[in-house]
């Protein structure tokens, strides 16, 4: 029994292919027609797609509950994506910082300028909440090599303060945030030197004139030591009516949570400020005298010229 006809099958297949290509040719013809008469297709499209246009406009700009929900959801998703990107960038930056730090340490060790290994490790015995005047007490004294004026660090380069008093067995450290502490600091980013003064309560501030751009997050370093950071600016007080502005900074770690610190091998107060100032004044005076002598010489020469002309 014959169940199929090869002729019929062939015919149906041929007709199917024919219909398929007919459709394709028709559509391509419409595209060509659109290229020749673009205005015609545009008008037809505007008419056919009008309901779609209306609904999409409604979703995009209506104040209805559903469109509003959809829009806020879309905004939240976008915000989430932005935060994720930021997070990824931050992680990358952290890795870069770590790599640079490692590289820096290696280079320092190569140039023999690494003093970190020479530092003394000390344990903090007492903290500002039990000691007056924002001091900390450490368990290393002059017997261990601690000298007055030595910088005290938290971590690799975070300066906590300076040793102000030492006994055989223990020492006191004046924090840079202690009231009355004065130092010169360098503000990275703004690239200016500024006086730093302790305010107390774990806060110090740098005073700058108006017009200098300081921002939250800028590092403030102790310029006298190659690896010493006071901290970063956590707040800026800028009142346009005042002649100066303040950048408040806090140490990287709360003083109350300090347990171990390291003490630098030598004092940074090698030269007495008074002596330095006197020396500087003397140099300025000498320079002025030289200038005056030059002028005197010049004026004497001029006088001689004038006299010779008169004669």
């Amino acid at each position: 029994m014959k169940t199929y006809s090869s002729i019929t099958k062939g015919n149906s297949r041929r007709s199917f292919l024919k219909a398929k290509f007919l459709w394709l040719f028709l559509l391509i013809a419409v595209i060509i027609l659109g290229l020749i008469f673009p205005w015609l297709i545009s008008r037809v499209s505007a008419f056919v797609l009008y309901p779609f246009h209306i609904t999409s406009t409604w979703v995009k700009s209506s104040d209805g509950i559903i469109p509003l929900y959809l829009r806020s959801r879309a905004n939240l998703v976008k915000e989430l994506e932005t935060i994720r990107k930021e997070q990824a960038t931050k992680t990358g930056t952290q890795t870069s910082i770590q790599r640079l730090l490692e590289e820096n340490m290696q280079l320092r060790s190569l140039t023999k300028s690494d003093q970190i290994s020479e530092r003394l490790t000390a344990r903090v015995l007492d903290r500002p909440n039990s000691l007056p005047n924002d001091l900390i007490q450490i368990d290393q004294g002059s017997d261990h090599g601690v000298v007055v004026g030595a910088p005290v660090y938290n971590g690799i380069d975070g300066v906590v303060g300076l040793v102000i008093y030492t006994t055989n067995k223990y020492s006191f450290v004046d924090l840079f945030t202690s009231p009355g502490f004065l130092s010169t600091a360098y503000v990275m980013g703004a690239n200016v030197f500024a006086p730093l003064e302790g305010v107390g309560g774990g806060i110090a501030r740098v005073k700058l004139p108006q017009g200098v751009s300081i921002q939250v997050g800028q590092l403030v370093i102790l310029p006298g030591i190659s690896t010493a950071i006071y901290g970063e600016i956590v707040s800026v007080q800028n009142e346009p009516t005042q002649p100066e502005q303040y950048g408040y900074l806090a140490p990287s770690q709360a003083i109350n949570s300090l347990f171990y610190v390291t003490v630098g091998p030598e004092t940074i107060l090698n030269q007495d400020v008074t002596t330095f100032e006197a020396e500087m004044r003397e140099r300025v005076r000498q320079a002025t005298n030289t200038s005056f002598n030059n002028n005197a010489t010049t004026s004497a020469a001029l006088n001689t010229e004038v006299e010779s002309e008169v004669e």
Partner: protein
């Protein structure tokens, strides 16, 4: 795919393209092409080009739809798990000699 699903898909694709979400529309287009030949998608592409006045420059959507449809119809027979008689194709295990 039933005819009403087909209609829903076509309407949704058109709406997405009008609303300016071509990537979402592309996903639906690919899904649609998996089940059907999808010549009607070229018509949608032509309408969208007309809507955005792309016929004054280059009919991007029409050409893209045309390419996608032709390409999908060329590739599809090689991806199907059924042969021409609607039977599952499976590899016979070759007995070890």
């Amino acid at each position: 795919m039933k005819i009403y699903w087909q209609l829903i898909f076509l309407l949704l694709i058109t709406w997405l393209l009008v609303a300016g979400l071509p990537l979402v529309a592309l996903a639906l287009v690919l899904f649609y092409l998996f089940y059907l030949r999808g010549y009607e998608l070229i018509l949608i592409g032509i309408l969208i080009d007309g809507y955005y006045h792309y016929f004054y420059e280059w009919p991007v959507f029409s050409l893209a739809m045309l390419s996608i449809v032709i390409l999908a119809n060329l590739i599809k027979p090689h991806l199907l798990m059924y042969n021409g008689h609607n039977e599952m194709v499976k590899k016979e295990k070759i007995p070890n000699p």
